[in-house]
Symmetry: C2
Amino acid sequence: MRITVLAGGVGAARFLRGLKRAAPGAEITVIGNTGDDITLFGLRVCPDLDTVMYTLGGGINEDQGWGRAGETFSIRAELAAYGASPDWFTLGDRDFATHILRSQLLGAGQPLSAATEVLCRRWQPGVRLLPMSDDPVETHVVLAGPEDPGKRRVVHFQEWWVRMHAETPAADIVASGAAQARPAPGVLDAIEAADVVLFPPSNPVVSIGTILAVPGIRTAVAAKTTVGVSPIIGGAPVRGMADACLAAIGVETSAAAVGAHYGPGLIDGWLVDDQDKATGDDPALAGIEVRALPLYMRDLPATATIARAALDLALELR
Amino acid sequence: MRITVLAGGVGAARFLRGLKRAAPGAEITVIGNTGDDITLFGLRVCPDLDTVMYTLGGGINEDQGWGRAGETFSIRAELAAYGASPDWFTLGDRDFATHILRSQLLGAGQPLSAATEVLCRRWQPGVRLLPMSDDPVETHVVLAGPEDPGKRRVVHFQEWWVRMHAETPAADIVASGAAQARPAPGVLDAIEAADVVLFPPSNPVVSIGTILAVPGIRTAVAAKTTVGVSPIIGGAPVRGMADACLAAIGVETSAAAVGAHYGPGLIDGWLVDDQDKATGDDPALAGIEVRALPLYMRDLPATATIARAALDLALELR
């Protein structure tokens, strides 16, 4: 069976671990969000790709969900001693090695997809990990503030998310460069060849939304049997600050609103938590098959159960 | 008093520490060799500049004479796990931070001299440290081997020095790019404005020799009162494998031969060790004032004595 998954960071990585357990024989292709990517100290950092790679490859810091296990922070301390900025994005020494090697490969003219393949040769994530695009796409956040939209401050997503903790409301979130980006080699093929497409409980705006903003991907997904897993449980994001992102695009923070935001033209099935069972009766979700089950990814068995349910629903809907 | 010093790595750095002690009020400009520079993993590494900067700034690993004190080696281990090469050049995590920041500055279009100034703002070496040139110069070694010079293998100096331990004889040593290089801003001015110019006991071929190969520097030095300190004591280099370098350019490994190699057109005074006292009688050194004294830089006081002797001789010869 061929499964293609659109993935953000921590939530997607954990879901994928469950999916591998739930469907051990499946050929899984992961299309990773690169809108969160940022160049720090001249090095290209791809947080979502790395979180998936480290998690599935056994190198993740399990407690925080991102970064490497057993990290040290010599380089960070040294850069601070040099007065180099920014100081708000924490990178460990082990993690730095990944960014150094990736930047070397990119600097030598290799596309991000090829660099990702080189990195995955070590980590053997057990899935094919593709960046959504080899072209630069950066998620930018327009901060709420002055009435005049021309005077509003625009920051890189990471600055808003990490440095500002998404506390300043966003007036808009823009996948800068997405309209000109082409899907990376293999991306459209992987969607077209998939038996099912899954959306893990990733951020609907800055993870799944950004991937769908790359021309061609939304149409390809819409043509497939696609099932999503709600990242919102009981009106709150399970992890992260998806509510702040949803507010920016005028979508309510509820499992029903997110399902309706994707819409029946894109997804065929929608998994919600038991406490959001009423979602199934929402007329906004007409045309989408909604199933309720416990959605907290407490541990690997619980996560495998969720992944299995998503897969079963998709196979049923084909 | 203005002193300008042409500097390689460890020997020069230790000599400079002695010089600062011997002439606390002096304005010292150091012109550092960049021929040993190498790009590793996409990062620009400047071993000689960094050795001077770390040594004078109190960050050096005193035992080995290069690299940072209290190093860890996470990045090196990670890069090895990725199968990245080369694996023969050891860089510690703290040291990596210097190369990351320098590479970021260079990547943003700053010249090496400006990047060096930024790095020195942290280390406060107490001297003005200038790279000999902002243009790329790389010392390449032509390995002895096939009769046909066109078939001989050429390697980067660091590969010969570090990986091969200079065990394969060198047929020639070439400062590649030197002929096209321009002295970095301030270099010629610092030589012209100097009351004295000093050559520390650095490698006469791949350190001092490379600096002198940048057009304009040799002529500027020749016009000044210049005193050198022999890096050869009793027919052997005090440190490093200068003998292998001297052999490649057909110069005997002796204090007399190195003094004569610089020659009376370039240096005015030559300090040799007590055991090389006979050097003063060598007709090849006619026109050079030779002084003998203990030249082992055992500790800071001994080194300050050597530096003081070099300075005194230079002032005497002005």
